[in-house]
Symmetry: C2
Subunit: 177 residues, 2 copies
DNA sequence: CCCCTATACTCAACAAGTTGAATAGGTGCG
DNA sequence: CGCACCTATTCAACTTGTTGAGTATAGGGG
C-alpha cells in the first residue's frame, strides 16, 4: 500500500542502497512493514523517476558497485505530507491465527509444533531487538526508538500469548488423545 | 495471501453467506485478517469452482435472497492440509509506525492527533472484544476463544504503547515549541 | 414521497505484493 | 579448485488486495 512511504521514512534516517534497505526491511523494520528486495528496487526506481529520491553510484573495490539513494527536497516534502495525512488502520496477516481458528476441525498435533516454532521465533526477534536497543543508546532519535519499543512489546506479548496457546493445546491433546 | 484459507476456517465455524462473512471479517476476525467484500465474493466463487465449498440459495421474504456457503468434504480436507503445513510468519502493515519513524523529519503535531485517534480506536475494539468474550461463554470452542484472546492482548498492549508514544510526543512538542 | 440506510451481490480496472530465475564478481572452506 | 554463500541488481510473470461504481429490494424518517 504505502511501501513507498516506508522507503522514504527509512531514507530519512540516512542514505542507503537497495540492498541495504532490503536488509533493514528484513530485520529491524520487518516488524511493522515487510518487503522483498524486488519490491524495494522497483519502488526505488519509481521514487527516482518521480524525483523523490536521488541515486549516486558508489564504486566499490571488492564487491559490485552500488547505487546509494538519498531523499530530495521533494521527497522530504512528500514524506511530510504523508505524515500529516490520517493513517489507515493497521492490518495484520497472521496465518497461525487462521490455523488456530480451525483447530477444532483437525488434530492439534501440527499446531503444537507450529506454536513452538512461533515461540522460538519470537524469542530470537526479542534478542535481536534488545541488542538493537543497546546499540542505539539513550540519545537516539525519537521515531526509531519508539518503533523499536513497539516491536519489543509486541513480541513480549506474543510470547506470553503463545505460551498460553501451547498450554491449551496440550490440555486438549491430553483430553482427546 | 491465503484469504481462501481464512474463508475456509471461518466456514468451519458454520455456514455463512458472502455478506455475513464480509461482516465477520470486518469485526471479529478483522484483527488478524482483513478483507473487503469484493475479495470475499471473488474467493468464494473460486472456492466453489474448485469444489471446496458449496452454495445453497436461501429464499428470503423481506430482503434479497442469499447464497449460503458450506464446506464440502474436499474443503474440510484442504483446510486440514493447510493447518498441517508450516505457517508463514505474521506480517504487520502499520502506517502509523512509518509516520512515527519519520517524526524527526517533521513536526509532531499531526502525529499527536494520529496517536489519539489510534488510542480511541483501540479502546473501541477492546470494548467490542470484551462483549464478544462475554457472549462466547466459557464452553466455547478452543480456536475462536484463543484468537479472540490474541486480539484482546494485542489491543491492551497497543493502548499501553500508544500512551507512551503520546507522552513522548508531548514532551518533544514542549521542548521544541 | 423521497432520501437514507441496510441487505445482497456483481463487474471492471488498477495497485500492491510474491515468486522464481538470471547475471556477475568476491570471499571462505575444506 | 570447486562449491556454496554474500553482495548487488534486473527482468518477467503471477497472485492478491483495493477502489469505485452499479443493480435490486425493503424499511424507516421527515
Amino acid at each position: 500500500m504505502s511501501l513507498r512511504h516506508a522507503v522514504l521514512a527509512a531514507l530519512s534516517q540516512g542514505e542507503a542502497s537497495g540492498y541495504e534497505l532490503a536488509k533493514r526491511f528484513d530485520v529491524a523494520v520487518a516488524d511493522f512493514w515487510s518487503a522483498t528486495p524486488q519490491q524495494l528496487y522497483r519502488d526505488l526506481e519509481r521514487l527516482e523517476r518521480d524525483g523523490l529520491v536521488e541515486a549516486r553510484v558508489v564504486e566499490q573495490e571488492r564487491r559490485p558497485n552500488k547505487r546509494v539513494f538519498t531523499l530530495t527536497a521533494a521527497g522530504r516534502a512528500a514524506l511530510g505530507e504523508f505524515v500529516a495525512a490520517p493513517a489507515r488502520p493497521a492490518a495484520i496477516r497472521d496465518e497461525f491465527l487462521i490455523k488456530l481458528q480451525a483447530v477444532d476441525a483437525g488434530e492439534p498435533e501440527a499446531l503444537i509444533a507450529a506454536a513452538e516454532a512461533r515461540l522460538a521465533r519470537s524469542r530470537e526477534k526479542l534478542a535481536r531487538y534488545e541488542q538493537l536497543r543497546k546499540r542505539m543508546g539513550t540519545e537516539e532519535s525519537l521515531g526509531p526508538s519508539l518503533t523499536l519499543e513497539a516491536g519489543i512489546l509486541y513480541e513480549e506479548q506474543n510470547t506470553r500469548w503463545t505460551t498460553l496457546v501451547l498450554q491449551r493445546l496440550r490440555e486438549r491433546r491430553a483430553a482427546s488423545g
